[in-house]
């Protein structure tokens, strides 16, 4: 227990901040994922074959390639790509990207591919009559989506989105390879310096279980809220 003490004698406070970091990365990645889903879901549902192809390419590649490989691509290629873009604008200094940004971008793109599939499925399972009725009533495109489709879609999407959240949360453990100090990295450091890997990795497992448990409880509440009336 004294290994977990707060302050200089133990690893309690370090692991606490690492847990906050994991939560921060997961939330950021989830939001980045929603952003990508916002772009790619319409592409997948579009009438045009070329746009469909672009959407399908994104979801197929990201869901078919290991997360770790995507993270390595971002970790090793991220600053190179940014420097290349900067050089077009005439900036030639070395740019280093923060591990937090690299990590949440990489995980965000992965989580976005899963979110896209969830949103696509949810929109497709809404009755066609709803779209037609909205059109007949003369509601504009924005209103159609925002007031009619979105509320119905969320009810169908939330259970699956909670799966995406679980996947995202667990995937953040992989960014420990880039050196960002989240739960896994902090346990690695603590295990190395105390030579007690069994304890620290088991404790990390407990922290992850706690995070998944609490988030499931919160999501269940959301689910109840959006399915009222059914």
């Amino acid at each position: 227990m004294e290994l977990l003490a707060f302050g200089k004698t133990g690893w309690g406070d370090e692991l606490f901040y690492a847990t906050l970091m994991t939560i921060a990365v997961s939330i950021t990645a989830m939001l980045v994922g929603f952003f990508f889903a916002l772009i790619f879901t319409p592409l997948k549902l579009s009438k045009y074959k070329t746009l469909n192809l672009v959407g399908n390419f994104y979801t197929t590649v990201i869901r078919g390639v290991p997360e770790l490989l995507v993270i390595y691509l971002f970790f090793f290629g991220g600053s190179g790509a940014i420097m290349y873009v900067a050089s077009i604008f005439g900036y030639y200094e070395y740019i280093e990207i923060n591990a937090f940004i690299t990590g949440s971008m990489a995980i965000g793109i992965i989580s976005g591919a899963y979110s896209t599939e969830v949103f696509r499925g949810a929109i497709q399972s809404i009755d066609k009559g709803q779209f037609e009725a909205a059109k007949v009533l003369g509601i504009n495109k924005f209103g159609q989506f925002y007031k009619i489709i979105l509320p119905q879609m969320l009810r169908l999407a939330i259970p699956n989105l909670s799966n995406v959240w679980q996947i995202t949360l667990k995937d953040t453990s992989l960014i420990s390879v880039t050196g960002l100090v989240e739960i896994m990295r902090q346990s690695y450091i603590a295990a190395g310096s105390t030579r007690d890997p069994l304890f620290f990795y088991s404790f990390a497992a407990v922290l992850y279980l706690l995070l998944t448990y609490v988030s499931m409880k919160l999501i269940n509440k959301l689910e109840v809220k959006y399915s009222r009336g059914y």
Binding site: R63, Y72, L198
Partner: protein, 225 residues
């Protein structure tokens, strides 16, 4: 684009794919039995057996695979007693540690898939078997298991693909699988995009094959026939 690098790294990556496939097939093989075992425990009426199986699947599905590998590879070696038993022969090898971790992980997911398949079997099928005077054992082996396997094919196909991606974590415990070799080439040449295209292409090809095999099996064993 450095096409030369792509050409020279392709055979190296293809060689590493063999390691990936070995890890995948071994863990799927053992994982299927483990999953079936725990799925049957989940259907047991005894609350303790039931809860035990539930806890197993909850723990392994609620924690990242990386933690599980690290506990088994770095953690278990710390127990002095374990070092004296014959288990140490297996546990000191990163290869077997990875397979144990993958097996336990995929076993947890497989048990959930099979459990829900068993539970969605229409009671009418079992009742029909009973009224024909077939014994409970035969009903289980000849009716419930085949139907459950057919039910769970799509979900199990997804699980195979997830596990294939999961084997990439073996590279974190010094194994040179496809991702491990890709990382090594990237860190020596600093050409991430080229290597990503080749390695990612190989992974996508495997996904494509698995996807189509499952689709074929689904069609072959569909109920309509």
């Amino acid at each position: 684009m450095d096409f030369d690098l792509m050409m020279t790294s392709f055979p190296k990556l293809l060689g590493a794919t063999v390691v990936t496939l070995k890890l995948l097939s071994a863990s799927l093989f053992f994982g299927l039995f483990l999953g079936l075992f725990f799925a049957i425990l989940r259907l047991n009426k005894n609350i303790f057996i039931n809860k035990f199986a539930y806890c197993y699947s909850y723990i392994f599905r609620g924690t990242p695979l990386l933690v599980q590998i690290f506990i088994i590879y770095f953690g278990l070696g710390q127990i002095e007693y374990l070092r004296t038993t014959f288990l140490w022969v297996i546990l000191k090898e990163p290869y077997w540690c990875a397979i144990i971790a993958f097996t336990l992980n995929t076993g947890a997911y497989t048990s959930e898939i099979l459990r829900s398949a068993f539970q969605t079997i229409k009671p009418g099928i079992i009742e029909a078997g009973k009224s024909l005077g077939i014994s409970n054992k035969i009903i289980f082996y000849k009716i419930q298991i085949p139907v459950a396997i057919r039910q769970s094919l799509p979900a199990y196909g997804n699980e195979i693909i997830l596990m294939m991606k999961g084997t990439s974590l073996a590279s974190t415990v010094t194994l040179m699988d496809l991702t491990g070799v890709a990382k090594y080439i990237i860190s020596t040449t600093f050409k991430p995009i080229e290597v990503f295209i080749v390695a990612g292409g190989i992974y996508l090809f495997m996904t494509f094959i698995i996807h189509n095999v499952i689709k074929y099996l689904e069609k072959k064993y569909s109920f309509q026939q």
